[in-house]
């Protein structure tokens, strides 16, 4: 859109705006303004607020502000349109720094000078330019490594509930994660949306304690910050991640918490705009909007690097069919689901084995990657544990005493599986060998004819 005057237009300032409705601002009689262009509004005191163009026409421009609009007056506000969408200056120097939700530094340091300015909205990756992810990451957490293996370049969300230890698990994974070749060219991007200060502090402190702080970039839009800012936070964070991964060849782990807050902000702005809501008041484009974020992960042909996403979300009322976890599950490559009952029985991490899934696992485990028996072992554990769930239901009706002997064995298997395989300490880092051995230990409780997913050779070698 190169208009000869465009370069000059960003200096043109309009005095007075024509309407404010929550985060939305209307400006009439402007020059032709581009869709999604960045705008800044300066009030009497000189404070600058940023916003972006949501709707542009000959008569009026509708702006969505990222900052609070309280205190703005109609006649004395000054508006400038900057001629381009919101960008973040990306550079390796972003590591070790703290930014606000819009990508501006808030740690007192200067704004890092970007190697280039990158549009926070990003661009879709051409599917033919992607590399299918297949290198596993050893997280040291048995229930993940053994049954829901994390792959470099995967997007694997944690479906949690309020009060459940998802931040602890995320921190543990960040601390322990290592790949087969032990590459140390890694970075961590932490995007916090609407989380409480003490949660953010817990995460930052644990980064400091494990001595990785100089490899971490933080994008914080905390609970006290304006909710609209949260719509940009993950985009700014992922823009930085894309630069580090695809330009600098680093392995980037992106932690995003809490996606539920992000979705709530989206609903808020959609309601103010008077859009037709779909389920539970969320806009109909929630799926596409989330996909714009989650799809910014993976690996590409032109770079060694990768982006692995671990988004966290709290399921409202622990309801997995709520639109937020539901649509997330449709986009991401699996999910780690937390179970309040396990948490109540003091099992950490309280990962519900059955609804959890890693879709990329099948291509990243087995011979030459983890171990030849891994695929069957995982399948057998799933299948047997699923039977345990059925028996427990039965036992709750007829009583444990009435169960058949084989069913009682299954009950025993169930408690070992939960109490020893799933359960581990927050600082316990198990190797893949240890995890698989624990899995076999659980299977040894069952009679051999129940292990119908294992091959003869595997039974011979490991049982």
């Amino acid at each position: 859109m190169k208009n000869p005057d465009a370069a000059l237009m960003k200096y043109r300032e309009y005095l007075g705006i024509d309407g404010i409705d929550g985060p939305l601002v209307v400006v009439r009689k402007t020059h032709p303004v581009g869709f999604r262009e960045l705008a800044e509004i300066r009030d009497q005191s000189g404070t600058i607020r940023l916003g972006q163009v949501l709707d542009t026409s000959r008569d009026a421009v509708l702006l969505q502000m990222f900052h609070d609009t309280s205190g703005l007056t109609l006649p004395s506000s000054r508006v400038r349109f900057l001629g381009e969408p919101l960008t973040v200056g990306v550079t390796r120097e972003m590591l070790g720094r703290v930014f606000n939700g819009l990508g501006q530094p808030i740690d007192g340091g200067p704004r890092p000078v970007g190697v280039r300015e990158a549009d926070v909205n990003g661009l879709p990756v051409n599917p033919t330019a992607r590399v299918y992810p297949r290198n596993y990451i050893q997280t040291g957490v048995s229930v993940i490594d053994g049954m829901n293996t994390l792959i470099r370049g995967q997007k694997l969300p944690i479906f949690s509930g309020s009060g459940l230890p998802h931040n602890e698990l995320a921190v543990q994974i960040t601390r322990q994660a290592q790949t087969a070749e032990g590459n140390d060219n890694f970075a961590v991007i932490f995007a916090a949306m609407g989380v409480k200060h003490d949660v953010a502090r817990y995460v930052i402190r644990s980064f400091e304690e494990s001595g990785v702080m100089d490899r971490v970039a933080l994008f914080l839009s905390l609970a006290g910050d304006p909710s609209i800012e949260r719509l940009i936070t993950p985009r700014a964070a992922l823009t930085a991640a894309e630069y580090l991964a695809y330009d600098q060849g680093m392995h980037v782990l992106v932690l995003m918490t809490d996606m539920s807050n992000y979705c709530e902000s989206l609903r808020e702005i959609s309601t103010v705009r008077g859009e037709i809501p779909s389920r539970k008041g969320y806009p109909g484009y929630l799926y596409s909007d989330l996909a714009e974020l989650y799809e910014r992960s993976g690996m590409v042909e032109t770079s060694e690097g990768s982006i692995t996403q671990l988004p966290m979300l709290t399921m409202p009322n622990d309801d997995i069919s709520h639109p937020i976890p539901d649509l997330t599950g449709y986009i991401t490559e699996g999910q780690i689901v937390f179970d309040r009952e396990l948490h109540g029985r003091n099992i950490y991490p309280p990962v519900a084995a059955l609804p959890s899934l890693s879709r990329l696992m099948k291509d990243g485990i087995g011979e030459k990657m983890t171990r030849g028996d891994h695929p069957h072992l995982a399948g057998q554990l799933f299948s047997s544990y699923s039977y345990v769930k059925d028996i427990r239901n039965l036992a709750s009706v007829i009583g444990e005493e009435e169960l058949t002997p084989i069913d009682k064995t299954y009950m025993e298997f169930g408690s070992f599986f939960e109490g020893s395989f799933v359960k581990q300490r927050m600082d316990e880092n198990r190797t893949m060998e240890q995890t698989l051995e624990l899995g076999w230990e659980a299977l040894r409780i069952l009679p051999v004819e129940e292990l119908h997913r294992m091959s003869e050779e595997e039974l011979e070698t490991y049982l």
């Binding site: 859109m1 581009g34 869709f35 879709p124 389920r279 484009y285 799809e295 539901d326």
Partner: protein, 587 residues
Amino acid sequence: MRRQVGIVDRVHGPVVEARECQSGMMMELVHVGEAGLVGEIIKLSGNRGVIQVYEDTTGLAPGQPVYGTGMPLSVQLGPGLLGRIYDGIQRPLVDLKERMGTFISRGEQIPALNGDALFSFTPITTLDERVSGGTVIGTVPEGERMIHRIMVPPGLSGKILFIADAGSYRAADEIALLEDDTGRKHSLTMIQHWPIRQARPVRRRLQLSRPLVTGQRVIDTLFPLAKGGTVAIPGGFGTGKTMTQHAVAKWCDADVIIYIGCGERGNEMTDVLREFPLLVDPRSGTSLMDRTILIANTSNMPVSAREASIYTGASLAEYYRDQGYHVAVMADSTSRWAEALRELSGRMEEMPAEEGFPAYLPTRIAQFYERAGAMETLSGYEGSVSIIGAVSPPGGDFSEPVTQHTKRFVRCFWALDRQLANARHYPAIGWLESYSEYIDDLEAYWKEQGQGGWISHRRTILDLLQREVRLLQVVKLVGPDALPDSQRFILEVCSLFKRAFLQQDAFDEVDRFTSIEKQANMLKLLLQYWDMGSRAISRGATVIQLRRMKVVQELMKMKFRSDDNWDSLEGKLQRAFDRLELLYEES
């Protein structure tokens, strides 16, 4: 000279309003703004027009021009489509990558067919012959095994004035000249254009009579799909919609596969691109990619192109059908397509019906599925388009509008079950909710294959599975011990049937594809075990004895057998029961 058809007046998301649009045509393909973004005029009122833009509109401002192309949004059809990957509006993604790198930016126009490739043409028509739409005028080989038939575009007819000699030509070279009845001359190349939203004409619809053999046991045996039929695969996330689509795309006996990745993950398309070229089609011995066209409009690509991708895929399918081929279209997922409709409808401020979806949603779904069918083509061949549409119901709840409306227009339903998926029972097609209305149409085919018992076997096993559900409800209350052995044996047989027959390992060299004959034999053996077993129980055998029979292990593993020595297994089963009989007769 570009024809200006309007001036941008308002931009909100992918919907652009324009003024001074008098000369624009409804559904005309337009280029919007200086960047030339691809769009389509979807509404005209007075001198104002509404344009749906297929690319990201960031930076587009009022006052910029809109240029018309004089034709509706069309696909380019001709040799060289197979084995390639396109986006929702048929831009070749590999060429886009060469032009723009890893990320897809905007405003690039690249023709769908490679203009420089040479094809070896063999003429079929002769000079002065009268031809009409659909007449095959020549052939070119496409890939290693396909014969691509070059046809007169539908709607044209007349006399051949010139036909090229056999030889190598580029797709855009003139290969024939046709004079119609009014004396106008039309130059024909190997390429034709077709508006994507319009179904290609055929001579007549045919009765469906052959199954689309997929090699997936639960499908072929229990819920078969006919060639030219339609099926919906609904299922919550993680229940295996994409895995089922992939399995069918890999192993079904269609000649051409159109795989539409509509609003789904980028990595899934990458997976297909990586895996298909390595897999060999068991029927032709060539790479699976040679018969496949991919349409990828992943979830982060513009929604309006997602809306178009379904029609692009259907048009490509119909083109190959017209050449006399059997085509299978996988649409993954039609829910994302419906959501794109909803989003665009919302932007145009239309009155919503259920859950914000536009009132015309059922009409659009019906139009799409009606493009399937077995047809006698204009050229007299028999060809078919089968449509396999995945549906992603929110919360896995099948009562939502897209699933419900889809159910009205498909005749086969493969319902994916969350419980099965959680227990890693794949494919997780539930036998209680799924159905197929093609059973009667396909009975004759199974008889031809020498498997006349199919209908009654199928009914027996479905009946057992139904009885199992009722028994399991009792078991839930009082435990399995309370049931008599005759009923416990039903549970035993059903559990064996699920493990030995319904579960299929998509990654096992042998198990991933099961021929019709093997399926029939497996089912027959399992039902023999049921028959002999229930007879034995009525004479005093116990379930425990039956469960411990060595031959049960063999039945369990028969899916991994690649030999076809079924008689010996049958004999073993018979002998095992004979021995058992001696045992309980002694006691």
